[in-house]
């Protein structure tokens, strides 16, 4: 097992996935060790609660184990594919819990603040340069652009729901999403 793990550690993510498709436990273990922390962090950021974040992360990784062979390089890096799965499961988890609650009752600012706080006791911040730069780019966005992007991506709300929540025309929400992504993209080019 240790020998197989050593071999797997030398492989790129894209090379691990076919092995995971063949049920190679050592390859999966390396894959989890590379992406487990960011996946859990993303799940926690979305669901705002430790146990639920663990459940989401576990479901996502087990689903990847079961479908590892289905990774498609054309859909981006393994990491972004993985985080996309985690994000969708986290949003599903949120929607499941709030299905009976009227979403219009949420106040957007309060919602975002609530999910950014939560239980801080297990927050061992392992900041990375990339994360800092992205956060910086997000921080530099005008508040109204950052808000719609965060409500969509981390809150799991549709653009129509966001428009209703913020009492904005749908077209304004669409425009702010585009402007926000454009600015992040331009900043990425500048930093590259």
């Amino acid at each position: 097992m240790r020998k197989r793990r050593g071999s797997a550690e030398r492989l790129a993510d894209e090379e691990l996935m076919p092995l995971i498709g063949k049920k190679d436990v050592a390859a999966f273990e390396v894959f989890y060790d590379r992406h487990g922390a960011i996946a859990y962090s993303l799940a926690y950021r979305i669901v705002g609660e430790r146990t639920a974040a663990e459940d989401v992360t576990q479901e996502a990784f087990v689903s990847i184990w079961r479908s590892g062979g289905r990774y498609d390089r054309s859909r981006g890096s393994v990491r972004s594919w993985t985080l996309g799965i985690v994000r969708n499961r986290a949003v599903d988890s949120l929607r499941g819990k709030s299905a009976s609650a009227p979403k219009l009752a949420f106040d957007a600012d309060a919602l975002l603040e609530q999910r950014e706080s939560g239980d801080r006791t297990d927050r061992d911040a392992l900041r990375r340069e990339t994360a800092d730069e992205v956060r910086e780019a997000l921080d530099q966005l005008p508040g109204e652009q950052s808000k719609v992007i965060q409500l969509a991506y981390f809150g799991g709300f549709s653009q129509s729901e966001i428009a209703t929540m913020l009492s904005l025309p749908l077209g304004t929400v669409k425009g702010r999403m585009r402007l926000g992504l454009e600015k992040i993209r331009t900043e990425m080019v500048r930093l590259a």
């Binding site: 097992m1 240790r2 197989r4 049920k23 436990v25 999966f28 989890y32 060790d33 487990g36 960011i38 996946a39 859990y40 962090s41 993303l42 926690y44 950021r45 430790r50 663990e54 992360t57 576990q58 990784f61 087990v62 184990w65 079961r66 981006g76 972004s80 985080l83 985690v86 994000r87 969708n88 297990d122 927050r123 061992d124 911040a125 392992l126 990375r128 990339t130 994360a131 992205v134 780019a137 997000l138 992007i149 969509a152 991506y153 981390f154 799991g156 549709s158 653009q159 129509s160 966001i162 077209g171 669409k174 999403m177 585009r178 926000g180 992504l181 454009e182 992040i184 993209r185 990425m188």
Partner: protein
């Protein structure tokens, strides 16, 4: 495709990347993308920005027990997958072989039906694990009416396989312990769960000096020391 249609779908690209389209819209947009080079170029330009969003979260250290639970589930499924693919001797064959040759004495049942103390016989059984790994050198096995256990030693590590585990509550997990002399300690990556068929696997990374491997039912998240009588206790001969 009209210019108006094109502009409509182009407006939807950011929401598509952020997962904020209404149900069903994404599939329609993807159909448009298949025939619209301009939108594909626009999407390719914006996509990296959306993909960086999850990287912006404050990175936390994932709980160690989470890794343990995930790997335990994966190992159980991998074992099931190998067994399903393999034409090698089955568990049933193995137990029949053990039953013919190995002295196995069963301890008394304690508490609920699945709590069985196994005083295991020790046998050498020439088999391979089937995944290209090295052949196990020692097999320690025990069985009981409810829970059966098999311990396979490979170098410094060992794999404990349980079958017929039942009676575990929803908020409980299995925890593996090792006894070295008089000291009982939690095995590394010690938590695991049975699958729907009652099969469970624990990997003991360090078997050095271990006299026995035990498994108890513990509250979710595990315990610092055993809080219940062992389901199984498998002696290990060094």
């Amino acid at each position: 495709m009209s210019e108006r249609d094109h502009e409509h779908w182009r407006e939807e690209l950011p929401a598509y990347l952020l997962g904020a389209l209404e149900p069903g819209q994404a599939a329609e947009l993807e159909r448009h993308l298949a025939g619209c080079e301009d939108c594909r170029v626009d999407l390719a330009w914006l996509r990296p920005a959306a993909r960086l969003l999850p990287e912006s979260v404050e990175c936390l250290e994932a709980p160690r027990q989470l890794r343990t639970r995930i790997m335990a589930e994966v190992r159980v499924e991998a074992e099931g997958s190998r067994a399903g693919r393999s034409g090698r001797r089955s568990f049933g064959d193995f137990w029949r072989w053990i039953g013919d040759r190995s002295p196995v004495s069963l301890g008394p049942a304690i508490g609920f039906a699945a709590i069985v103390l196994i005083s295991a016989g020790i046998a050498a059984y020439a088999t391979r694990d089937g995944d290209g790994g090295s052949a196990p050198t020692t097999v320690v096995a025990g069985k009981a009416p409810k829970v059966t256990a098999k311990m396979v030693r490979e170098g410094d590590s060992g794999t404990l396989r349980l079958a017929n585990v039942s009676g575990l509550k929803a908020d409980e997990v299995l925890q593996a312990w090792v006894r070295r002399g008089e000291r009982i300690e939690s095995a590394e990556a010690s938590l695991f769960v049975p699958d729907c068929h009652g099969a469970a696997i624990a990997v003991i990374e360090d078997m050095q000096g271990v006299n026995a491997v035990m498994v108890t039912a513990e509250p979710r998240g595990g315990s610092d020391s055993p809080t219940s009588d062992p389901l199984v206790s498998v002696p290990v001969r060094q």
